[in-house]
């Protein structure tokens, strides 16, 4: 059951999706894009983003059949109680793995650039424990923290990133559009994870009063993501060239390290940006952890999700410490995420929508009002 004050506005939905999708992948995004397509690397993101707009349309369509219900609830109606619960638990497991992965990658970045001697465990635990505090507050807290942090993060970030213009050489983006279409398409599976997080809309739309009003904010947020990712890829490629960038693990951090603001007193901005970046990772973990605990509460059939949050921390912490090295970590990521993200963004909504249509399920729109 969703209580009365547990609703989110369309604007909050857009912010949640944006802040969930943007997390650690922006650090390495440009390197992978350039690795796939060279100077045309941004093309993958644009094509993938357009595909994701369609999948978002499907997600909203599916949700508007069951207003006021999240996928954890209506999947039990569509495919039956047990299969629905299995699907929901898959979702929860997937989210827990993502959180663990994000936590670990972020810890590695922080350890590399900011806190060299702070133990990994402390960085991780302090990050996840703060998240649990928000998550226990429920959907409204999650929505508000996202709303609050969005301008705090993006305004300084966009200002700082623009100071990189002196080190950019936009001719590095040439030759433009020389990649054959086939190659663009084959590069897409490897990049699908970069939009991972959109699938949370399957849940969050359920917390809206009118699911139909989710079309506009979701499309806008996907457009914002396309713009943001493309900008980062373009800037990084312009600054380093497509060849060098593939050799750097985190091109965005390297790019920010090269920026020096006019006047000597503000050089070395990587510390500033990385401490801002704690916030996006924080919001990603918050929105995912909330959905993970919410899913578990639906599978277990309880009304509240609070009691599941702290036990999840132990699991996440344990999983995050599993990869031995950063190489193993990225290997794990490249094995798990392309399939998992593709399944949850594309396959699950389409299949559920088809079955719901075939079974003629759902509430008619005028009845629900």
């Amino acid at each position: 059951m969703i209580r009365n004050n547990d609703t989110i506005s369309p604007y909050q939905l857009a912010i949640i999706i944006i802040m969930t999708v943007i997390s650690i992948e922006v650090f390495s995004l440009a390197a992978e894009a350039a690795d796939n397509l060279g100077a045309d690397g941004w093309l993958t993101i644009v094509v993938l983003g357009i595909i994701d707009i369609f999948s978002v349309l499907i997600i909203v369509r599916l949700n508007s059949i069951f207003p006021g219900k999240t996928i954890a609830e209506y999947s039990q109606i569509i495919i039956g109680t047990i299969p629905g619960k299995i699907l929901t638990s898959f979702f929860a497991v997937y989210l827990i793995i993502v959180i663990a992965y994000v936590t670990r990658v972020f810890t590695e970045v922080i350890k590399m650039f900011l806190l060299f001697r702070t133990p990994t465990e402390v960085i991780m635990l302090s990050l996840i424990l703060v998240c649990t505090y928000i998550v226990r507050g429920g959907i409204e807290c999650v929505a508000r923290i996202n709303e609050l942090l969005f301008p705090m993060l993006f305004i300084p970030f966009l200002i700082i990133i623009l100071f990189g213009f002196p080190i950019m050489d936009f001719s590095n983006l040439r030759p433009v559009l020389q990649t054959p279409a086939g190659k663009v398409l084959t590069s897409i599976p490897g990049m699908i994870y970069s939009f991972g997080g959109i699938e949370l809309a399957l849940y969050y739309i359920g917390f809206m009063k009118e699911p139909k009003r989710a079309y506009k904010p979701l499309i806008l947020s996907v457009l914002f993501l396309i713009f943001f990712f493309t900008m980062i890829i373009v800037f990084c490629i312009a600054a380093f060239g497509a060849k060098t960038i593939t050799k750097i693990i985190w091109p965005l951090v390297a790019y920010i390290r090269l920026i020096s603001l006019p006047g000597v007193f503000l050089e070395r901005l990587d510390g500033v940006i990385l401490s801002l970046w704690v916030l996006t990772v924080f919001t990603t973990i918050v929105s995912m952890l909330f959905i993970a605990s919410y899913s578990i509460s639906k599978v277990a059939g309880t009304n509240e999700h609070k009691q599941f949050v702290l036990p999840l921390v132990i699991i996440i912490y344990y999983l995050a410490l599993q990869p031995v090295s950063i190489a193993e970590l990225y290997e794990w990521g490249s094995i798990i995420f392309p399939y998992a993200v593709a399944a949850f963004i594309y396959a699950v909504p389409v299949v559920l929508l088809l079955i719901a249509k075939l079974r003629k399920l759902g509430v008619k729109q005028n009845e629900s009002n």
Binding site: N172, R174, G241, R257
Partner: protein, 379 residues
């Protein structure tokens, strides 16, 4: 209830004590800011063990001497070791303070490093992997040994590193100084498969001179450009901004100062397996010096002088292009860059054998266009 409150207080205290620790705190007094690093191949006599490959010299300021002190404002320290990072950690064994490389401004490579592909690659990897180094520091080649630079006692500056970095930053006003950051250097080596033009720094007793440039091919030093050639290199690669060009007109030496200097490449045609490239150079500026008693404020005269400047630019550019094609046999003057970016289809066909193609089949013509806008204060 009281017990619960008590527990809460204890938990809060524990949180404060256990979580708020700062593992990475280093007081600024405990930091030793290393401002420049010089890297040489180790000499036989310096070897402590036979594996030693590098001599690294570090220079850092002596804070209390910078303003008023009578002593030298910086001190240098030298280590001999097997690798860059080993040397850095060796410093920790010798100093009470902790070295900090986040503000390092210059890195000097000795000639012997630049002549040895393996040594250079190892060094560059070590430097680009280490998180404390910022790649915005400037890179130089020093003919002879890099440690010589640190024996210089600058005439007008207390500190050596900002002095040298300051000269490089003058490249906005003089085209004879090539500006190369470590990041540019790594990018160029990557893009040109080991080709590089790196500013040459000559240490003297009381000053240093940025004088020409070293040319690398396949990670090996193959020659030097002189002062004027360095300027021409800046012209051809579109890196020049301000600068002066001197021409002799009617036996009077005339100085042209350019404020903007643009180079554009175009490919007019491809004939008989040869690629014709046009380097269009456009400069804008003023006449700074002519001769007392002779008026220069005359359109016809100015046109003639600008023809003269154009001719000089064209001749010197073609001279340097010839040098790159015939002597160095490596394309560091932007032709490859242009072809790969603007003629990708054509470039794909010649990519594998590009070096030979460059020396034999690329014809480069330089066309200069000089606009003299001003003549200074007197007629």
């Amino acid at each position: 209830m009281k017990a619960i409150n008590c527990l809460r207080a204890v938990a809060a205290m524990l949180c404060v004590m256990l979580l708020a620790g700062c593992w990475d705190k280093i007081e600024i007094e405990d930091r030793l800011f290393v401002l420049s690093i010089g890297i040489d191949g180790a000499e036989e006599a310096e070897h402590q063990i036979s594996e030693d490959k590098y001599t690294l010299s570090f220079v850092s300021p002596v804070v209390d001497q910078i303003k008023e002190g009578p002593g030298p404002a910086f001190r240098t320290y030298k280590t001999v070791n097997r690798s860059v990072i080993m040397s850095l950690s060796q410093l920790l064994e010798r100093f009470s303070k902790k070295q900090f490389f986040g503000h390092t401004r210059n890195i000097f490579f000795g000639e012997d490093i630049m002549k040895d592909e393996k040594l250079l690659k190892e060094i560059l990897d070590g430097i680009s992997r280490y998180h404390e180094f910022h790649n915005s520091m400037y890179a130089y080649i020093v003919p002879g040994r890099a440690e010589e630079v640190f024996k210089v006692k600058p005439m007008y500056d207390k500190l050596l590193a900002p002095y040298i970095a300051g000269i490089i930053e003058n490249s906005d006003y003089t085209s004879k100084v090539i500006k190369l950051t470590l990041s540019d250097m790594i990018i160029m080596l990557e893009n040109q498969k080991g080709g590089l033009v790196i500013p040459k720094l000559v240490p003297e007793k009381e000053e240093v001179k940025i004088n020409g440039a070293g040319v690398l091919k396949d990670y090996k030093l193959i020659g030097y450009l002189d002062d004027q050639e360095a300027a021409v290199y800046n012209w051809l690669t579109n890196k020049a901004k301000g600068g002066t060009i001197e021409v002799v007109y009617n036996d009077i030496s005339t100085v042209f100062r350019h404020y903007t200097f643009n180079r554009k490449i175009e490919m007019p045609k491809m004939e008989g397996g040869k690629i014709y490239l046009n380097y269009n150079i456009e400069a804008e500026g003023s006449i700074e010096e002519y001769m007392m008693g002779k008026e220069i404020l005359d359109n016809v005269l100015l046109n003639k002088i600008s023809r003269e400047v154009e001719k000089k630019i064209e001749d010197e550019s073609e001279e340097l292009i010839k040098k790159f094609r015939q002597e160095f046999k490596v394309d560091l003057i932007g032709a490859k860059d242009y072809l790969s970016k603007y003629q990708p289809k054509l470039y794909k066909t010649i990519e594998n054998d590009y070096e030979k193609f460059f020396t034999d089949n690329i014809v480069i013509k330089v066309t200069a266009k000089v606009n003299i806008r001003r003549v200074g204060l007197i007629k």
